[in-house]
C-alpha cells in the first residue's frame, strides 16, 4: 500500500511517500503564506521527483498547523500524534519524543504500541522553540546553521538566565559587548533552550529511549545540551525534520 504524509509547519512544509515499510522519498520546502498551496506544491514536487502519479497514492494524511488546509488529504491528524507514529516507525523501542519546531515545542511519551500516552506543549512563549534560536542568531549576526558546530567548541557556556526571549536577547547583546566568545554565548543559548525543554519533558516524565525530531534536532548543540540537562542519550534520526510527515504517512496506512 502506498501512502503519503504532508506536514505543513509554521516555517516549512514537508512531504513523505511510503510504500508499506519502505520510505520512497521525502521533501522539505518553505511554507510561504498559503498553506493550501504549500501542501499541493510540495506533494506535486515530490511526486515529480519520484516519477509517480497522484492516483498511485492510496491514502493521504495531513498534519501540522496547516493540516486542515490540505483539502486533498483523506484525514487531518495532529502533529503530536504523527510525531509519535513517525518515531515509532523509525524505532519501535522509543518511549519519549521531543519535537522542537519553529514556533512550538512538544514532548510526548508513547506506549509500547506506538500510541501517545501523554504530552506537553509550550505555552504562548517563544522560549525553547526554533524561533528563540532565530532571534538569537540575528542578535549574534550568525548563521543558524553554524550554531551547532560552533557551540561544541565552547569551553564554558555563558549563563543566560532570562526565560523571556526579549530579555535573553539583551543578555546576549551585553555578553557580546563584554567580549565573551561567540562559541560560549551560542553554547549558553543552547543550554537555555535545553533548560526550557527539559523542564517540560520532566513534567510528562522522560522514559528512555528518547528521540528528538523537528527542525531543531539538526542542531547538534541543542541535542547535546538536552542530553546533559536530562541525563539521557538522545537519538536523532536522519529523517528528524520530516518525521511528522513520515508519521502522517504511517497513520494513513491504517485509515
Amino acid at each position: 500500500m502506498i501512502t503519503a504524509g504532508i506536514d505543513i509547519g509554521s516555517i516549512t512544509a514537508k512531504a513523505v511517500v511510503l510504500s508499506d515499510d519502505r520510505m520512497l522519498g521525502s521533501k522539505v520546502a518553505f511554507s510561504g503564506y498559503n498553506a493550501q498551496q504549500a501542501g499541493k506544491g510540495i506533494f506535486d514536487d515530490l511526486l515529480k521527483e519520484l516519477e509517480m502519479d497522484a492516483s498511485s497514492i492510496e491514502k493521504i494524511v495531513s498534519t501540522g498547523y496547516g493540516r486542515n488546509s490540505v483539502t486533498f488529504a483523506d484525514k487531518a491528524i495532529t502533529e503530536i500524534i504523527c510525531h509519535g507514529a513517525g518515531a515509532y516507525y523509525l524505532n519501535p523501542e522509543v518511549r519519549t519524543v521531543i519535537d522542537v519546531g519553529g514556533q512550538d515545542s512538544k514532548v510526548l511519551t508513547i506506549h509500547s504500541n506506538g500510541t501517545v500516552k501523554d504530552f506537553a506543549m509550550n505555552d504562548k512563549c517563544a522560549a525553547g522553540t526554533g524561533r528563540f534560536l532565530e532571534v538569537m542568531a540575528r542578535a549574534m549576526e550568525s548563521d543558524l546553521d553554524d550554531f551547532g558546530p560552533l557551540s561544541l567548541r565552547s569551553g564554558s557556556p555563558s549563563k543566560i538566565s532570562s526565560i523571556c526571549t526579549v530579555f535573553a536577547e539583551s543578555e546576549v547583546i551585553s555578553l557580546i559587548a563584554k567580549g565573551e566568545s561567540r562559541e560560549n554565548i551560542i553554547a549558553g543559548i543552547h543550554e537555555s533552550v535545553a533548560s526550557r525543554i527539559s523542564s517540560m519533558a520532566r513534567r510528562v516524565g522522560v522514559k528512555e529511549p528518547v528521540m528528538m525530531t523537528g527542525g531543531v534536532a539538526r542542531n547538534i548543540g541543542v541535542v547535546r545540551a538536552l542530553e546533559r540537562a536530562l541525563g539521557v542519550s538522545i537519538e536523532v534520526s536522519e529523517f528528524a525534520q520530516v518525521n511528522g510527515a513520515l508519521g502522517a504517512a504511517v497513520m494513513a496506512v491504517n485509515l
Binding site: F167, E171, R203
Partner: protein
C-alpha cells in the same frame, strides 16, 4: 570630603558577624530537633510565633529559607524543579523554591528540618495557604490556619471576634500536638519579649532618619532575620539592643552607610534577593542611599495595635490581622506617605514583584498618590524575588539610571 572621611563611611557593621553566628546556631538547633526531642513547626513570616516559643516548639520559616535560597542564587534551579513537578512558573518563587527543596533536600542548608506541624497565617497572602496545603499533603502533618480577615478599610467587630476565637483554637491545636498545656505565665513573658524586640527593631530602623543614614535597607534586609525567626526570645532582644547601640554610635560618629549620601530613597516590596549586592552598589554609585523600606518595618506594625501589653494573647490578634499586606491600598498609601516624610526621602523605588500579588497589585495607585501628594520621582523595577530567570539586568539598570537622572535634575 577628605579621604579619611570617605574611609569611615560604608564600613561593615560589627553586628553582621554576630547575626550570622546566631542564625547558624538557630538552624543547627532546628536541624537537630529530632535528636533533642523538640517539635518543629513551620510557620509563615507573618504568623504568631510567640505561642510556639512559649511551648518550646522550634519555629522554622520557609520564607526565611526562601530568602536564603535567593541570596545564594539557588532559586532559579529550584524554581525550575518545581515547574517540572507541575507548578506554574507564575507562582510565588518562595513557594516554588521551598516545595522543590522539600523533595530534593537542596538549597544552601540542604533543606529544612521535617515539620511536626504547620502554622499558616493568611495575613500576608492567600498563597501561603495553598503552599502550606501542599506541604501538609507532602509531610502528612497537621495544619493550623489562622484566618485573619482582610481589613480593607477597618478591622470589624465580626473579624475581631473570629480572630479571637481562633487564637484560642491555636493554643488548643498546639496543646494537642505537643500533648502538654500552655504555660500562660511563660506566654506573657514571651509576649513581653516580642513587643520589646519589635520596639528595638523599630528604633534601629528609626536611626535611618539621621543624615547621613547609618544604615541602608539592604542592611535592614539582613538584620531582619531575627525579628522574623526569633521574635519572643531574649536572644532577639539582646541582639537588637546591641545593634541599636552600634547604629547610635555610628550616628554619633557621623558614619554613613554609603560613602557619599547625596540622595535618600525609599524601597517598596520584598528584596530582589539574588541582586542585593548589585543593587546596593548601583545606587551607591549614584550617591543614593536607600534609607528605609516598607518591608522590614512590617515586623513592628503590631505595635500600633498592641493596646494591652499585660495580656499578649488577647491583644496580639489585631496586630496580626492588621499586617501591612492585609490592609487596603489607601491604608498603605498613608503609611508610605508617613515614611516619605519621616525619612525625608527624595525618591521612591518600587519593586514590582511577580512573586507577591498582595504587595505588588495596587503599586501603580500608590505610586500616583506619592507623586501627587509629595511630588517625588519613583521607579518600578520588576522581578520574581528569588527566581532570576525573570529579571533583566540591563533593563533594570536603564530604569535606575534614568530615575537617578530625574532626581538629580529636580535638585
Amino acid at each position: 570630603m577628605t579621604d579619611t572621611d570617605k574611609e569611615k563611611h560604608g564600613k561593615k557593621m560589627q553586628s553582621d558577624g554576630k547575626m550570622q553566628k546566631i542564625m547558624t546556631g538557630y538552624y543547627i538547633d532546628a536541624k537537630t530537633a529530632g535528636e533533642t526531642g523538640k517539635k518543629v513547626a513551620w510557620i509563615t513570616s507573618g504568623g504568631p510565633v510567640e505561642p510556639l516559643i512559649a511551648m518550646d516548639i522550634i519555629p522554622v520559616y520557609p520564607e526565611n529559607h526562601g530568602a536564603m535560597i535567593g541570596a545564594s542564587k539557588m532559586g532559579a534551579d529550584l524554581c525550575q524543579k518545581a515547574e517540572e513537578m507541575g507548578y506554574s512558573g507564575d507562582l510565588c518563587s518562595y513557594a516554588r523554591a521551598d516545595i522543590a527543596c522539600s523533595v530534593v533536600d537542596g538549597g544552601p542548608i540542604g533543606g529544612l528540618p521535617r515539620p511536626d506541624m504547620l502554622v499558616c497565617c493568611n495575613n500576608i497572602c492567600g498563597t501561603v495557604m495553598k503552599w502550606y496545603e501542599v506541604q501538609a499533603r507532602y509531610y502528612n502533618v497537621p495544619l493550623f490556619i489562622l484566618d485573619t480577615p482582610f481589613s480593607h478599610t477597618k478591622y470589624t467587630d465580626e473579624a475581631k471576634r473570629y480572630v479571637q476565637r481562633q487564637v484560642e483554637e491555636y493554643v488548643t491545636f498546639l496543646e494537642g500536638v505537643c500533648k502538654k498545656r500552655l504555660d500562660r505565665d511563660r506566654m506573657e513573658e514571651v509576649g513581653r519579649l516580642s513587643v520589646e524586640a519589635q520596639r528595638l527593631w523599630q528604633a534601629v530602623l528609626d536611626t535611618a532618619m539621621n543624615k547621613p543614614s547609618p544604615m541602608t535597607c539592604f542592611d535592614a534586609f539582613f538584620h531582619l532575620a531575627l525579628i522574623v525567626t526569633l521574635r519572643g526570645t531574649q536572644t532577639a532582644v539582646d541582639y537588637y539592643r546591641s545593634l541599636l547601640e552600634e547604629m547610635e554610635q555610628r550616628v554619633a560618629d557621623g558614619i554613613g552607610a554609603i560613602p557619599n549620601e547625596k540622595y535618600r530613597l525609599l524601597w517598596d516590596n520584598l528584596p530582589i534577593w539574588y541582586r542585593l549586592k548589585w543593587l546596593s552598589q548601583k545606587f551607591a554609585a549614584h550617591d543614593a542611599c536607600l534609607v528605609a523600606d516598607t518591608y522590614t518595618s512590617a515586623w513592628c506594625m503590631s505595635l500600633r495595635y498592641m493596646t494591652d501589653e499585660g495580656n499578649f494573647l488577647d491583644s496580639m490578634g489585631e496586630g496580626y490581622a492588621r499586617a501591612y499586606l492585609n490592609i487596603g491600598v489607601d491604608e498603605m498609601i498613608k503609611i508610605v506617605l508617613e515614611m516619605v516624610d519621616k525619612y525625608d526621602v527624595d525618591g521612591f523605588v518600587m519593586h514590582s514583584n511577580r512573586s507577591c500579588k498582595p504587595y505588588s497589585l495596587g503599586q501603580y495607585d500608590i505610586q500616583r498618590a506619592v507623586q501627587k501628594e509629595r511630588g517625588i520621582p519613583s521607579v518600578i523595577i520588576e522581578s520574581h524575588m528569588v527566581d532570576e530567570r525573570s529579571f533583566s539586568e540591563s533593563q533594570t539598570e536603564t530604569r535606575i539610571d534614568a530615575f537617578m537622572e530625574m532626581i538629580g535634575q529636580k535638585r
